[in-house]
Point group: C2
Chain length 237, copies 2
């Protein structure tokens, strides 16, 4: 697997970064992708920088592709974090040191950054996380069992989750968190994992159908000793 080269100085807009909260769903658990830097025990959201003449949204799409191999993802910007003291220069210095990179040459990475945050909804099954040049792991973590994250990344995750919970109906339909066809039970599991509360099965079913965003397909015979559930897909428009 090819590792991404570290970007050169001056290629990017200084002091501007993006971070992405990439949500996946394992069947019962809501998860996000977290990177660990080489030999540092420092965990962070996958992020990146914006090239001088690159559209911001394109930069994020590019970054996401580099880390997950996935293209054509539902991405939504939700907040820009701009506190002057969100940086932890010591942490970044140790990341550079542990990667044999001189702090002089990469001093721009130690400076203050304003970060535009995005969230993505992707299918957990499809992703083979690819660590980049700086990191030695890029892994799924349960949303309620995250490692300690660097800087204000914990806050970013919380705000992403809060945003996701609002108008979940529209958002889940646009993303790719579920496979193309899924049962009503799958959908309910996703809702429950995201909202963090149990829902009534019958009420849930009727509410989903009343939204008129689901298309009903053939039944799925699971081999289980019970009525086979219908498969559904989102009506894309």
């Amino acid at each position: 697997m090819q590792k991404m080269p570290l970007p050169a100085v001056n290629e990017h807009i200084p002091h501007l970064a993006f971070d992405s909260v990439i949500f996946g769903f394992s069947g019962t658990q809501l998860k996000i992708l977290i990177m660990e830097y080489h030999n540092t025990n420092i965990f962070a959201l996958p992020g990146g920088f914006v090239k001088k003449e690159e559209h911001l949204n394109d930069a994020v799409r590019r970054g996401l592709k580099e880390r997950t191999g996935l293209d054509n993802i539902y991405l939504e910007q939700f907040y820009t974090f701009g506190d002057a003291d969100r940086q932890k220069p010591e942490a970044m210095r140790s990341i550079l040191a542990n990667n044999g990179l001189s702090p002089e040459k990469y001093s721009w990475m130690l400076e203050r950054f304003i970060s535009v945050a995005y969230y993505a909804l992707i299918n957990y099954q499809d992703v083979v996380p690819q660590p980049d040049a700086l990191s030695d792991s890029c892994q799924w973590y349960n949303i309620d069992a995250l490692p300690p994250l660097m800087m204000d990344h914990q806050l970013i995750v919380e705000k992403a989750l809060e945003t996701l919970r609002n108008n979940l109906d529209r958002k889940l339909a646009k993303g790719n968190m579920l496979p193309p066809k899924f049962t009503m039970k799958d959908l309910q599991n996703a809702y429950e994992a995201i909202l963090g509360t149990p829902l009534l099965r019958t009420t849930f079913q009727r509410r989903m159908l009343s939204l008129e965003i689901l298309e009903r397909h053939e039944k799925q015979y699971s081999g289980g000793a019970h009525k086979a559930p219908f498969l559904y897909s989102f009506i894309k428009n």
Copy 2:
């Protein structure tokens, strides 16, 4: 009235700006503050730049204070506009030329900017708009009769309005768009101006009271030949 000096080079983070959509309410009309640059017929949202070590939110508060004289305003970030082609370098060049400023010295203002957009809700009555060094007017315009705006500022206004319309109940209560005490009619006028639709008086009243965000005060005797309305204020928490 003191005009603001033009900021020096290198004081600010390059390629990063903010724009603010400042909403005011005149009694029946929703308005926003628009600046016109000297001798250019170019209209823009009031905006500014972020200093190297300044918190983003502070930068916006500072910019707003410079232009409206108002402090302690309800400000909310709603989107970051990052298309690479949102700039119109020709327009900025002509602004500089018409102000006797050399494009060489201020070339950083011609470059690509990513802009973090905020909206504010303020009391129209309280504001004496103060044009800054670059502009010769800073005026209220009805939301449905804006002059043609530079760059993507029209889009920014539309997105601000869309954001404001969502969860208006919470937002109006936090802002200062209405005076400290107001009648139910005032409140309804504000809602109608923002949402752009007429509302039923009786239904509106009951809905507002059920939100439990209003405190009822003494009645207001207007001199009109009719029952005096109660005054209300928002319960701040």
